[in-house]
Symmetry: C2
Subunit: 125 residues, 2 copies
Amino acid sequence: MRLSRRLRQERTETELSGSQFSTLGWISTEGPLTIGRLAELERVTAPSMNRTVNCLVDAGYATRTASPDDGRKVIVSATEAGETIVLETRRRRDAWLAKRFAALTPAERETLAEATTILRRLTDQ
Amino acid sequence: MRLSRRLRQERTETELSGSQFSTLGWISTEGPLTIGRLAELERVTAPSMNRTVNCLVDAGYATRTASPDDGRKVIVSATEAGETIVLETRRRRDAWLAKRFAALTPAERETLAEATTILRRLTDQ
DNA sequence: TGTAACAAATTAGCCTTGCTAAAGATTCCA
DNA sequence: TGGAATCTTTAGCAAGGCTAATTTGTTACA
């Protein structure tokens, strides 16, 4: 929690919020996903995800399309601007972390990588 | 972020929120602290911390006292009820994590412990 | 085939907890 | 002693969780 507050301090005004960026990241790397699936991935309720997607659509970073096979579902895709901002933001955020990471030993970086894997397994249970 | 959302799902209704519990934890283990110091420890602004402390005081888990050496400062201390709930909540939360941790190897647990140390250093810079 | 149950998204409204700006207190120092 | 600095507090805003209820579409079965 404290690390994410610290990272938030590094965010510029024009950037997307944590949830928005994380959600856009999913559809950027996994391809188009439904609201329900995104909610599941972000461990958030469907209404919460719906609002996040609204923000992304309003900002021009994502689009909603009806699912061809099931009219209840909505497919969320990243626009070109969305893909672009994911890459740019990642690059900019990495800059902050990269400075810190540069001060770590390779062994320490490896420890963080392993911890990430373990934590992901814990949350996915 | 996703892990903390997952952990939030394990919280019962009567329990304190994440920020409240974390703040109470500081004064429980570090002893009485000022609002400003708590804000710094939690990486939050003073007004935000002030509100968190209000909640704790209203709930009977903490008390405000004027600093004897500097009238501007306010010392926040844990009440007996506060100390008690920190211990109880920790025990209950640990139960959830403990089940998951039991499934880890000693080496994996060690990796998480090391990662914590490294991350703490990163946030404190 | 018509209808009832179910499923997915959405809307509405609440709460917590960040924030900034500004207002009190109190202290420090020239 | 008066003004700047420091610490807390108040007020008000925004993001982003949540639940409950509504809408729309699908599926199952009598």
